[in-house]
């Protein structure tokens, strides 16, 4: 077989795509382009074990499958342009790659706050370099930390900072509860209580309007005028899709790259998207295209997209069934874990306690179900390591879920 598939993006999504292209029967060339200098590595520990100094880089690196041993890795370079009609991708070193098939796996980058003030002392956590730089600052004695954004990364970083024994750590968020967006108020309240019991402070219901300091940040100005003294600031306020390189190809790039139910891009059978940059409809739910930033998605999307792409390149007629993954996520904070199966965000309007008593023992395990039109669409367990055991009992119910109507 001749020809080449270019995978733009060298993180987990790029790796899984390369592996799944081989699994799907592609024996031609595969070239993966990644802007970081490292081979693909596991990001979840960056906000936890790496920040806490418990995980060396070697423990993060993925072990590529043997079938992907002949994949060409072009690291430390990135795609800066594409001409899909001509099947070419331009790299930032000026070179141009021709392709027969293209996998879009360029992922996300952290969103930054645009309010006025110095940049020094302000961090994000996405890459290994980010985590190393932040760790250096967090381990200075008595350091005061302000985390902006009470989502996954923010809550995890705050927990890790508290565990490192920093001077103080305060989490700021415009919403009234941590992780209220993905989890709703019930678990948000339970999380708030657990964090506060472990020394994390919160300034909720207020945004950030600026940063104080001349050469580097010394304080965070809140919407109500309060100033929180800060030696280190962590910005965990969401992410931005790396899609600029795809502009001028007539694609819908309003939030990531829009795909069809086969993860194809722009109606082109030779271009697919994987990972959190892909905005795909999930046939398991309402068919509304969404980007999903959970860790399980790169593997799920790569499996499906590679089959669809290789089937086209090999001239096969069969169309795979529409993509219908069961999303999952987890989050380790302090000594407790959140473990989710399904899509709780689609059932925030009807949240029921399935097990435990969230208003009783503040440290007890809690299992919560999220419902849409009376049907279970997601479960989230909060508690110790065995929390997943409780959630796993609902596997059959979550998988048997008939498709919802929007």
């Amino acid at each position: 077989m001749t020809g080449r598939i270019v995978v733009a993006g060298g993180s987990m999504g790029g790796l899984r795509a390369a592996e799944q292209l081989r699994a799907a029967g592609w024996t031609g060339a595969v070239t993966v382009v990644g802007d970081e200098p490292h081979m693909p590595y596991n990001r979840p520990p960056l906000s936890k074990e790496v920040l806490a100094g418990r995980a060396p880089f070697a423990s993060l690196a993925f072990t590529p499958k043997a079938a992907a041993a002949d994949v060409e890795w072009r690291l430390g370079t990135k795609a800066v342009g594409a001409r899909l009609d001509e099947r070419t991708v331009t790299l930032d070193d000026g070179s141009t790659l021709s392709y027969d098939g293209l996998v879009v796996a360029t992922g996300m980058r952290p969103r930054r706050l645009r309010c006025p003030g110095p940049l020094a002392g302000r961090h994000t956590v996405r890459t290994l370099a980010d985590a190393r730089g932040l760790r250096e600052e967090l381990t200075r004695p008595g350091v005061r930390v302000v985390v902006v954004g009470a989502g996954f990364i923010g809550c995890e970083v705050a927990a890790t900072a508290a565990g490192l024994g920093v001077g103080e750590v305060t989490v700021v968020d415009p919403l009234p509860l941590p992780m209220a967006g993905p989890l709703g108020d019930l678990l948000g309240r339970a999380l708030l209580r657990r964090h506060e019991r472990r020394g994390v402070r919160f300034a909720l219901g207020t945004g950030v309007t600026g940063f104080e300091g001349t050469d580097r940040v010394t304080g965070v100005v809140l919407g109500d005028g309060t100033v929180l003294p800060a030696d280190v600031v962590v910005e965990s306020v969401g992410s931005v899709a790396n899609v600029e390189w795809l502009q001028d190809n007539g694609l819908d790039l309003t939030d990531g790259v829009l795909t069809c139910a086969q993860l194809r891009v722009g109606g082109r059978p030779d271009v697919v998207a994987v990972g959190d940059v892909a905005r795909f409809p999930n046939a398991r739910y309402d068919g509304v295209p969404r980007r999903v930033e959970h860790w399980s998605i790169p593997a799920d999307t790569a499996r499906h997209a590679a089959k669809a792409l290789v089937a086209h390149l090999l001239g096969e007629e069969r169309e795979p069934a529409p993509f219908a993954p069961l999303p999952t996520f987890w989050s380790d904070q302090h000594d407790f874990r959140l473990q989710s199966f399904g899509a709780p965000v689609l059932g925030l309007g009807d949240v029921r306690v399935l097990d435990g008593d969230p208003d009783g023992d503040p440290e007890g395990d809690v299992l919560v179900g999220y419902h849409h039109t009376d049907r279970l669409v997601g479960v989230v367990a909060l508690g110790g390591r065995t929390a997943a055991l409780d959630a796993a009992r609902y596997r059959a119910q979550l998988l048997q879920q008939p498709a919802l109507t929007a």
Binding site: N42, S296, A299, D300, T328, R385, T386, A388, A392, R395
Partner: protein, 62 residues
């Protein structure tokens, strides 16, 4: 096909139990249990389980 789980790495996330319930399960004590030599017909779901293990603790041999 042979399945090996590094139980020193496993932290009971249960992702494999969802991906391949014929091979991975929790025992009554909440510890991961698995079939070490599953039928080859289960290869797809076992590979999926290995991919989605947060600790990358599942190895497939043969």
């Amino acid at each position: 096909m042979k399945v090996v789980v590094d139980m020193n790495k496993c932290q009971d996330h249960g992702q494999c139990v969802f991906a391949a319930p014929d091979v991975f399960s929790f025992d009554d004590a909440g510890r991961l249990a698995y079939v070490p030599d599953p039928d080859d017909a289960l290869r797809d779901e076992v590979e999926e389980a290995a991919d989605v293990c947060p600790l990358q603790a599942i190895r497939i041999e043969g």
